[in-house]
């Protein structure tokens, strides 16, 4: 089947923020949101604002239906077996913390091995460090080679040591590296490990099928995929989720509460205590609809096109170093540094030209240490990115070089 080409000019009309004239090159940080998403949220606030799962009146039923409809949209989007496997969280960070707490505290024992990678985001490192300290477990990190790709030989060695848990990101937010996730999950499952895949940077940008991937947990955020902040997803295989105790306790996650004993609600509500981010979840549903209309194959094809263009344009700049693999094995993320110019100075100069560029450690300090840099500049792309924005970045870089000459 031929992959459609995105009509970027038409897409940009759905995003009012572009009327400000910005070149937005920070979608790996958070994406922009189209009118369809903000509109769905506004409709909730203005037409059926009420709490879900509780009231018997009509607008509350409408709110509940819309809130739960997102669960089916997300299930289909990632090809989970059941909506029972789709748990709403505030985002990837909360999803991973949920697993570290509710699965980890029950299953990780003294001396157990947890395998992570050096290109993981802090949110897929720190929860495990806390757990490992508490349980006296060990953590080993898979290193990268000179191209910023995981060392498969070392990964295989670590698997031979029988880890209890393997957790890694499908796409690195700092380098854009697309990890060979299917191979990695299959290898980890062969040695009996439980596997968590951090999909924060992959889910917005390429098709995902969690059943084909075969992982136990898959976490991602709505705000990087055109949705609002405050709504994210933890996918968990049903039998794994069933065996877990709750994460947060309170209203809505219970079946019956008596003074002496409480029975918990069924999946997935067992993990959803308290009043939820209703508008945000509805917004996330609208974001999934929007991406489905574009087609995730078309999204990936567009980003590859932009990334190849940007990779070439940036590689042509004197004194500029690009980190990470070639465009075919990277998502729409390019981290780079400039000789003699700190990334923050570059970002400030770019900002004067309305070019939004990230500078810093990208919540991946172990990776920055590994690369021997304190920070990098990072440009990242999405469905609305056009080549003109990349050209504006290159102009800003040349301007910075002129100022610092």
């Amino acid at each position: 089947m031929a992959i459609r080409t995105l009509d970027v000019a038409a897409i940009r009309k759905d995003f009012p923020i572009f009327e400000t004239g910005i070149a937005y090159l920070d979608s790996a940080n958070t994406s922009q949101r189209p009118r369809q998403v903000t509109g769905a949220m506004l409709e909730y606030f203005e037409k059926f604002n009420s709490n879900i799962h509780r009231a018997a009146y009509r607008i509350a039923e409408e709110a509940t239906v819309r809130y739960e409809a997102t669960r089916e949209k997300v299930r289909a989007f990632i090809n989970a077996a059941s909506t029972k496997e789709i748990v709403y969280t505030r985002g990837t960070t909360e999803a991973i913390n949920l697993v570290a707490y509710a699965w980890g505290r029950k299953n990780i024992k003294q001396g157990d091995l947890i395998v992570l990678t050096i290109i993981d985001h802090h949110s897929n490192i720190v929860p495990w460090q806390i757990l490992a300290a508490e349980k006296d477990a060990r953590i080993e990190y898979v290193d990268i080679d000179d191209r910023g790709e995981l060392r498969r030989d070392q990964f295989a060695e670590l698997l031979n040591r029988g880890p209890k848990l393997v957790a890694f990101n499908l796409v690195s937010n700092a380098l854009g590296t697309i990890n060979p996730a299917h191979e990695m999950v299959a290898a980890a499952k062969r040695v009996g490990a439980t596997v968590l895949v951090d999909g924060a940077q992959s889910t917005p940008h390429q098709p995902i099928d969690v059943r084909a991937l075969g992982c136990d947990f898959y976490a991602f955020s709505g705000h990087k995929m055109l949705g609002p902040t405050g709504a994210g997803i933890l996918y968990g295989r049903r039998e794994v989720l069933e065996a877990m105790d709750p994460f947060m306790a309170g209203g809505d996650m219970i079946k019956t509460v008596r003074v002496e004993e409480t029975t918990y609600h069924d999946l997935p509500w067992k993990f959803e205590a308290g009043t939820q981010a209703i508008a945000e979840v509805i917004g996330l549903g609208a974001a999934v609809d929007y991406l489905n209309d574009l087609g995730m194959d078309a999204v990936r094809a567009h980003e590859l096109d932009i990334t190849e263009y940007a990779y070439e344009a940036l590689s042509d700049v004197d004194g500029l170093t690009v980190y990470g693999p070639p465009p075919s094995r990277r998502a729409g993320v390019i981290s780079f540094s400039l000789d003699g110019i700190h990334p923050h100075d570059l970002a400030t100069i770019a900002d004067r030209d309305q070019v939004c560029l990230r500078a810093g450690h990208h919540c991946a300090m172990p990776l920055m240490t590994r690369l021997g840099v304190a920070a990098t500049a990072r440009a990242s792309f999405y469905v609305y990115t056009q080549k003109d924005e990349v050209d504006r970045l290159v102009s800003s870089i040349k301007e910075a070089q002129r100022i610092f000459a």
């Binding site: 003699g340 700190h342 923050h344 400030t348 100069i349 030209d353 450690h361 304190a374 920070a375 100022i403």
Partner: protein, 131 residues
């Protein structure tokens, strides 16, 4: 477009960044202190030689953005020969005034890193004096 007479990256800031004054270390300093800004990886350290309560000599070292390094360089120029008690009174407005540019909230930590080094370092010595 940013231009050559850009209000932020004025020539003297770039000059202090590329040719920092009083850069290096002192042997056997009376005060030595280093601070970093983990968010962007800026590091500034300062060594002081203090004689009769006066900063006789000062050196700074570190790495980072133009704002953090130029700010440190400018501060050392001001500190040389200054009584330590007077140095302790240098405040945020003095440092930002010396830089002479509008600093955005995101970059204020870069501009004030060297002041933090001075404050923590100078008050650290005061504690020792009191012992």
């Amino acid at each position: 477009m940013a231009t050559a007479d850009d209000q932020f990256y004025r020539e003297y800031i770039i000059d202090h960044y590329k040719h920092p004054r009083n850069y290096g270390r002192l042997e056997h300093p009376d005060i030595s202190h280093e601070e970093d800004n983990p968010l962007c990886g800026d590091v500034v350290g300062m060594d002081f030689r203090v004689t009769d309560g006066v900063i006789e000599d000062v050196r700074f070292h570190g790495r980072g953005c133009a704002i953090s390094q130029a700010s440190a360089s400018l501060l050392t120029e001001r500190l040389k020969g200054m009584p330590l008690d007077e140095a302790k009174k240098i405040n945020k407005d003095d440092v930002l005034g010396e830089l002479g540019i509008d600093i955005s909230p995101a970059r204020i930590k870069c501009a004030l890193l060297s002041l933090k080094v001075l404050k923590v370092g100078a008050y650290g010595l005061a504690d020792i004096d009191e012992e």
